[in-house]
Amino acid sequence: METTNYMILGYGVIFAVLALHLASFVVRNRNLQRDLEMLEQLEKKTPRRKPVGKKRK
């Protein structure tokens, strides 16, 4: 029986899904690293707030 096309389709799906999953790791990691850098810079720039509800003597 000639079933080569189905084999190609099957392995095409396997490698495509695995490649997409790996690519999603790279994209998510890049976005999170960018957010982390931005938030860390923001934290350095922003002066510390005094705790709410405490009055100065």
Partner: protein
């Protein structure tokens, strides 16, 4: 979560990356150039090696998520919740590949893309159950409550794994059984030769190592997301 863990990639993870690449390459070469062509089904039978391997990793990942859920309920720590989510994601990707490749293999063998066979149904129920796990998590805002519900759900959801595994052994089915004896009416069975066994074993090893490697990367991604979330809440003054 420790910051240095988020930033620096461990050496062992680097070694696992390399091992995954080498093993996947070896498995692929064995599938195409070492394993013999099956006489009746032809080339499509070669799907079998990666179809079984992805099915195994998918199920193992769901069981891993349930084990992490049990540990979380006993000793609540964020790291077990992160692990559980990572394992479910890996399980979903691999199980999805398993079902799709099964369907592609089924068409020339069973003459249909899909049939309401016990194995196909239980495998689909398993995937949908864990897809619902991700949806459930998104609907809960409180992190502790989300983790607790997630843990309970993962434990209950993992019951679909033995059900899927056993479905071809306890019900009448056309799906062949790889380990043990199956239904005499199963279609797509074939006689194993030695090269076929070796190719299957290498494929199982390759996908297991790849699964562990991806799980570790996904856990690190979860830690990073958690760190970002903490800083964001801090910036908002919460």
């Amino acid at each position: 979560m420790p910051d240095q863990v988020v930033q620096k990639k461990p050496r062992l993870l680097g070694a696992l990356d390399f091992a995954s690449l080498v093993l996947m390459l070896a498995a692929t070469l064995m599938v195409f150039f070492y394993a013999p062509r099956e006489r009746e089904m032809g080339e499509v039978q070669r799907i079998f090696y990666f179809h079984v391997a992805t099915g195994w990793v998918g199920m193992a990942a769901f069981i891993g998520a349930a084990v992490a859920g049990i540990i979380y309920l006993v000793r609540p720590h964020k790291k077990w919740d992160v692990f559980s989510v990572a394992a479910v994601e890996i399980g979903l990707v691999y199980s999805f590949v398993n079902i799709v490749t099964g369907s592609i293999w089924a068409y020339p063998t069973w003459n249909t893309w899909w049939t309401w066979d016990p194995r196909l149904v239980t495998a689909t129920v398993m995937v949908l159950t864990f897809l619902a796990y991700l949806l459930l998590r998104q609907s809960i805002e409180d992190p502790e409550r989300r983790a607790r519900f997630g843990a309970i759900y993962a434990i209950l959801g993992s019951l679909t794994v033995p059900l899927t595994y056993m479905s071809i052994r306890i019900w009448r089915t056309i799906h062949p059984v790889v380990i043990g004896s199956g239904d005499p009416g199963a279609q797509g069975t074939f006689a194993f030769t030695q090269p076929m066994v070796y190719t299957l074993l290498v494929s199982l090893l390759a996908f297991t190592v790849l699964g562990i490697t991806l799980l570790w990367h996904r856990v690190r991604l979860g830690w990073l997301a958690d760190r970002v979330e903490q800083l964001r809440l801090k910036a908002m003054g919460l």
